[in-house]
Symmetry: none
Subunit: 202 residues, 4 copies
């Protein structure tokens, strides 16, 4: 009945995805109702099933597609880094920066992906692994160039980096009054991870 804004014609699928991010991030996957996402998208309940197989598929598509954008974006950004350490800094800054421009998305990834990778049958979060692989790449390169410790366990280290950022994101999202600013924090995280918390010995 309502005339669609021509600029939005044909992008129903995308509107549904955006609405899903908003709703999932606000209420969590299990507490979100398909009809609520439909309402937020401005489409009928049934329409969602024209674009997605089911509610699970909506979450997975959402994750894979948005994560693909994030991966592609960070890959481009780190090219500006002059060395592995610099690229690591950029990676961390970028991740924490997403909290400001894509809060909802990060929030969904945060909580829901964990659910998904555990409970959605036959689902491997391919894009998430790609994201981690970017980290691996930086770390491997750093080892080769002698910037990073030669005995660094890359597999552990990349998880440490991601875990640290992820936990800080969670804190940021959950705390009503933000005590820290993402960009400030990213500097601290970077320093901490690159140099450790021990005082320098003379």
């Amino acid at each position: 009945m309502p005339k669609k804004d021509p600029s939005q014609l044909g992008d129903k699928r995308n509107r549904i995805l955006q609405a899903a991010i908003e709703v999932f991030s606000r209420k969590g996957f299990f507490n979100s109702k398909v009809s609520e996402i439909a309402r937020a998208s401005g489409v009928a309940d049934g329409t969602i099933y024209l674009y997605f197989k089911n509610k699970d598929d909506l979450l997975i598509s959402l994750f894979e597609e948005k994560m693909a954008e994030v991966v592609a974006d960070v890959k481009k950004r780190i090219q500006a880094g002059e060395n592995p350490l610099d690229r690591m800094r950029i990676f961390i800054e970028n991740h924490m920066g997403l909290l400001e421009c894509e809060a909802g998305l990060i929030e969904v990834l945060q909580v829901e992906l964990r659910q998904s990778s555990k409970f959605l049958k036959d689902y491997t979060p391919v894009k998430f692994f790609e994201y981690l692989d970017v980290l691996s790449g930086i770390l491997e390169e750093g080892k080769r160039e002698g910037v990073f410790r030669p005995d660094l366990n890359v597999n552990v280290a990349r998880r440490v980096v991601f875990g640290a950022m992820d936990e800080l994101s969670r804190t940021y999202i959950l705390s009503k009054r933000q005590k820290f600013h993402p960009s400030v924090t990213s500097a601290e995280v970077f320093q901490l991870l690159s140099e450790g918390f021990c005082a320098k010995r003379a």
Copy 2:
């Protein structure tokens, strides 16, 4: 009908909690059915409601009580540490060690608490904050004693430590074939966090 094994007398509540850990960790909170927990506990569905107000309360009680044990235990253990750095090592080792003896519990805390703190109304994960406070204590002390950098942001650092351990736990839990052993990993995490991943400069 109910087995009256004397060793199990009066521990019905505990049996329910244990069963809940097992079921929640396997299927996640939302995918777990109360009746399944009942079956796993060997009690009737209704019996669960004699000990817990509702399904939410079961999760929260589970978390608060088990986390209290974890907190009390780690507090005792770090006393054996000779200095803040040593205590940090013990803390990390202890956390990663839980993966072996209390896998299910860690798994529930991992995924479900995040849900809870976001979606359960009026719930503050008091015990989780206590756990983080133990970390803060170690870090503060280290700063005072000059072991840790004086400009260390304790609030960020403790989240980095926890996040790193948490992400590694997740990896450990999710990966079908464990690629690393918790105790080995904890050493690497400790080294990484205390010294950073940068190679030492001469």
Copy 3:
């Protein structure tokens, strides 16, 4: 699956109300199962919740809407009365007459409204008060015109009239073999209430 008899299009809500009258009147509110009303309406259980908030709301809606019809109807009918006494006669006749054409409805109002007004939270039977107000109107008017005793306590009198009709309805409904005919009874009730049961003194 759903029959699309054109005469029944769009009247699903009404079919549910009718079925509810039938079931409530036969088994009582608390003994009636929502699924039974669904079956009697020829709709799925869930469909009831598209039209009514919950089981309580179904009863209340039923009462308010049907009572509104009864009130509107009796108001129109008493206009045919030539004087207050005549209008009172019509009112009583009308009420007792409902037993024949709307037995189920009267039965629900009879028993269930009492429950409701006592136990349903925050519910005031507005339409029932309107019904009583019609009686008040007749009585007040009769007092003004000198037809009724000037010392008549209208508030008590209207309850006496309603209570008498109500109890007779109950008797009529409960007795397997009807011993009296509603229209006959209404004449007796009218005579009794207007003249009292005392013999005329010379």
Copy 4:
């Protein structure tokens, strides 16, 4: 464990009945829980089943036994009446008076008996019929003595009397602020029923 007040020893059955009156009158039969009656009686849940077959039986026993007392009592009281009219006055006064001294009981009879007589299988409210029979007796006698109209339909008349009192009881019970006093009301009811509401013709 708690020492019983010796004056209450052995009267458990009665304590349960009293508690049932209190609870049923406050919450209604279907909203009352057996365990609540148990608590109010100071006995264990199971104990109730030593004295009553089930929840229905508790209601029926309550009704029959208390009603028996009411019937016996009113029979004795009306003997003080000098003539049928006087006895009718006493009957009405007595019924309305119960509102003050036995409010809970009247309340249970009010609402619950209607439920019971409709929905409890195979139950005939014998004692209620006895109560009505007392009214019949007075009316028959009055007819024989010429005090009451010879064409009075006793069966209808007794229901009118009972219905009037019953509805006024209901009003009294439901209204938060009592607008009338039972004993005052009973005088008005008596006058209304005996003389009718029509003004006397010269």
